[in-house]
Every structure is written in structure tokens, then in C-alpha cells.
């Protein structure tokens, strides 16, 4: 089941998240609570998010769509201590990387897909760096976990607050792979899990790769729960 009706919807979904991340980094850098290499990371990564905003805005316009705009403000937590900021960055960047990962297979335009994957990689790189700074395992498993749109929106909506252009009704309980072991340790990644929940939209014009897909997806599914769990626990901590 597709989460998006077309590329423009995916691009605006991504742009909504990028606006949020860009504003987040501006606020964090301005807070002055990070120092040294972490302040440098935040400055650089914020520039990346701003570049993503520009690229997505231009692409949406070129495709004939209307790019969503940044909100005047967001419901960020207080950027009051270094530890809180780094924890927040881990949550947001992991979520962003997972959001792109779940959405990418639905992209139709090949050039948009390439760009989406390249942006997605950067979100993953940001996430791994902040995880390292937070003394966490930087790469949770051999296969990164996608986060479905409903879960992303559920996690992000409280931060977007009112007046957002992208907030959909926050669906809950749609997290993927709840039965899989939460891959938060240092393990080698591909614990067996029930491979039932990764996106499999299929493609009728292509060769029948169902078995192939199933085999591959089996390895990836086990780690899917980790990120969803993090998103949920973050939600709880905000509530």
C-alpha cells in the first residue's frame, strides 16, 4: 500500500522534515550550548539541511508543484544542555534517515530517486555521527530501518505544532516489526525476524522477484523495530 500518491507528495513530505531540521540546527547553533567539534558538526550539518531545503524546493517547483514553506516557529524542546541537544539530534536524524528510506522506493522519477537516496545517505551519516557523540552504537545493524510515514508524522507532529502544512492525522500503533528483537546492541545485525512489514509495493512490469525480495527483506526486517521504538519512546518523553 502506497503511502504517497506521487513524487510531489513525497518531495513535500521530505521538504517538511528538512525545514524542521534546518530550523532545528539554526536554533541549536544559536544556543551556544555545543562546543568544539560538536558546534562545528551542527554548523555543517545545518548547512546540509538548508541545501536540502533549497534543492527540494527547486525540484518541486520544476515539477509544477507548490513547495511547502517553513513554519514561523517549531515546538522544539529547550536547547538547554549539551546532552539534551545531542540526544534530540540522534532522535531527529535517525527519524529523518528512516523516513527517506521508507519513502524512497515509492519515488517514480529516476533522477528524483537518485537525489533522494543521496540525501538519505547524508541523513544517515548525520545520525551516525550524533550517535557516536552520544556514546551510542553508530550503526545499529547491517540493514537500516525504514520508518513509515504514519510513524514519522506521529513522532514529528507534536514538534510541528499548529499551522503546519504537512501534518496529517497522527496514526498510532502502525509501527513496523513489533515482534522483532529491538536491535539496539552491538550485535551483527541480522537476527532472524518475521519479514512481514517492509514496504513491498511490487512492480507489475518487472520480472517476478517475489522470492528474491522475501529473502532479502528477511534480513532487513529484524532491525526495523529499533527505530520505531526510539520514535515511540521519544513521543512518550514529550507527552
Amino acid at each position: 500500500m502506497a503511502d504517497f500518491k506521487d513524487d510531489l507528495e513525497i518531495l513535500n513530505y521530505a521538504l517538511t522534515l528538512e525545514h524542521f531540521e534546518s530550523a532545528m540546527y539554526k536554533g541549536i547553533v544559536a544556543s551556544g550550548k555545543l562546543t568544539g567539534v560538536e558546534q562545528t558538526y551542527a554548523t555543517d550539518f545545518g548547512a546540509h539541511e538548508a541545501a536540502h531545503v533549497t534543492a527540494l524546493t527547486d525540484t518541486i517547483s520544476k515539477l509544477g508543484g507548490t513547495p511547502v514553506k517553513a513554519q514561523a516557529s517549531y515546538n522544539f524542546p529547550a536547547f538547554d544542555t549539551r546532552d539534551n541537544i545531542v540526544k534530540f539530534l540522534v532522535t531527529v536524524e535517525d527519524l529523518g534517515a528512516g523516513a527517506y528510506l521508507a519513502a524512497a522506493p515509492e519515488v517514480q522519477n529516476p533522477d528524483v530517486l537518485t537525489a533522494a537516496v543521496a540525501i538519505h545517505n547524508i541523513e544517515g551519516e548525520h545520525a551516525s555521527i550524533w550517535r557516536r557523540q552520544n556514546k551510542m552504537v553508530p550503526v545499529v545493524g547491517a540493514f537500516a530501518a525504514p520508518v513509515k510515514k504514519a510513524d514519522v508524522l506521529a513522532a514529528v507532529s507534536p514538534l510541528l505544532g499548529s499551522g503546519t502544512t504537512a501534518a496529517a492525522p497522527a496514526a498510532t500503533g502502525t509501527g513496523s516489526g513489533t515482534a522483532a528483537p529491538a536491535a539496539t546492541g552491538t550485535g551483527g545485525g541480522t537476527a532472524a525476524g518475521a519479514p512481514t512489514t517492509l514496504p513491498r509495493t511490487g512492480n507489475p512490469q518487472t520480472e517476478n522477484n517475489t522470492a528474491l525480495t522475501t529473502t532479502l527483506v528477511a534480513g532487513a526486517a529484524a532491525v526495523a523495530a529499533g527505530l520505531a521504538l526510539r520514535a515511540r519512546s521519544y513521543k512518550r518523553s514529550k507527552a
Binding site: H48, A97, A104, I119, I122, A127, L212, L216
Partner: protein
């Protein structure tokens, strides 16, 4: 054009190993990569590619291409861990990332085996530099890891099956995360180099990997 290079790279590992064997330097190669009737089969396959080069790539071709790179990365990490030259966080990290590459190799191999793919890429012998100091090792990782990221990213649009694309995405994100960490371990001030990751054409992948092949 691109497809042709992709096909060539797909078979590059086994082909080069094979040529060495045929030239009488089999002692180096031993039985590591391919042996016996596989060699003949691979040779036939290689010739067939010049004819088939124009044919459309299947998803399994792309996965096999990816598997070739994963084998290289997997062996690289195995050798690095075995060198014992890394300490502390770098040692732990290399061990962990090596496990991930092994998982990628296993998953891709199993998928291709189940799909009865004809010429599944195997581990070969590679011309790695000496893994003699932590600095040199990290520098080398920061040469190889971007190739993996760029190769998957460039190849993504060639994948037809959306489920396979999702898995390729799950792998490339891991490669990207590894890259940022190995860069940070190497002391790079900008472990995330730009707003867009590497996007390698097949030419670029080919050029990058070639010096490492026997």
C-alpha cells in the same frame, strides 16, 4: 553504455581471478575464489557478456554487482581485523562493520542463490595496501567506503522491483553511516563531506575498484 560497464564489473572479480589461474599463477589464487568447473563456466559467461552487453540489466545483475563490492569490503575488514593494528574504538568499529559487510554478503548470496542466478560473485583476492598502521588503515577505509555508498546510490534507479530497492536503500544507509564514522575516526573535521552523498557512475566505480583487483 552504463549497462555494459555494470556487466563487466559484475564479472570482473571472477574473471580476473580466472585469468590469473589460466596464466599459471594459480598458486596465489588457490581455491579461494573459484575452482574446477566454475572456472570454465565463468569464462563462458564472460564471453557471453560481450554479446549480451546491450541487454537490459535485471535486478539480479545489479545485486550481483553489489555482491562483488560487498565481497571486497568484507575481505578488507577481515584482513584489517586480522592485522591487529587497530586499537580501541577503531578496532571495535572495524569488527562491527566487518560483521555488517558479512551480513550483506550472506543476504545477497542467499538471494541470488535462491533466484538461481547463474554467476554469483565470489570472494576474490585483492591488492590491498599493507594494513600496517591505524592511520593507513583508516585512510584506506575512507577510500573504499565512499565507493560502496556511491555505487549503490548510482545504481538505485536501475532497480525495478520496489522491494529490492527498499533493501538496497537499507544497505546503502549502513554503508553511509559507516563512512561517516570511519572519516571521524580518521580525524576528518568534516566527516559528512557534503549535502549530497557520493553518486558514482559505473565508470567511476570501475575506475575506483580496478587498482584493487589482481
Amino acid at each position: 553504455m552504463q549497462d555494459q560497464y555494470l556487466r563487466l564489473l559484475t564479472t570482473e572479480f571472477s574473471r580476473r581471478t580466472l585469468l590469473r589461474s589460466a596464466a599459471g599463477t594459480a598458486g596465489v589464487v588457490g581455491a579461494v575464489a573459484i575452482g574446477g568447473s566454475d572456472q570454465l563456466f565463468n569464462l563462458g559467461y564472460q564471453f557471453s557478456q560481450t554479446v549480451l552487453a546491450q541487454a537490459a540489466l535485471t535486478d539480479t545483475d545489479i545485486l550481483n554487482f553489489a555482491l562483488g563490492l560487498e565481497h571486497l569490503e568484507n575481505k578488507m575488514y577481515k584482513d584489517i581485523v586480522a592485522s591487529g593494528k587497530l586499537t580501541g574504538e577503531a578496532a571495535d568499529t572495524a569488527k562491527m562493520f566487518g560483521q555488517f559487510e558479512q551480513s550483506h554478503v550472506d543476504a545477497l548470496t542467499k538471494a541470488l542463490t535462491d533466484a538461481k542466478y547463474a554467476n554469483i560473485a565470489k570472494e576474490g583476492t585483492y591488492k590491498f595496501p599493507a594494513f600496517d598502521t591505524q592511520d593507513n588503515i583508516l585512510k584506506f577505509l575512507n577510500v573504499v567506503e565512499p565507493v560502496g555508498v556511491g555505487a549503490y546510490t548510482g545504481a538505485a534507479k536501475l532497480i525495478k522491483d520496489k522491494g529490492i530497492l527498499a533493501v538496497a536503500g537499507a544497505i546503502v544507509q549502513v554503508e553511509a553511516r559507516q563512512l561517516a564514522i570511519t572519516r571521524a575516526l580518521g580525524g576528518e573535521a568534516k566527516p559528512v563531506a557534503a549535502a549530497l552523498s557520493e553518486i558514482f557512475t559505473i565508470d567511476q566505480v570501475n575506475a575506483a575498484v580496478k587498482p584493487l583487483l589482481p
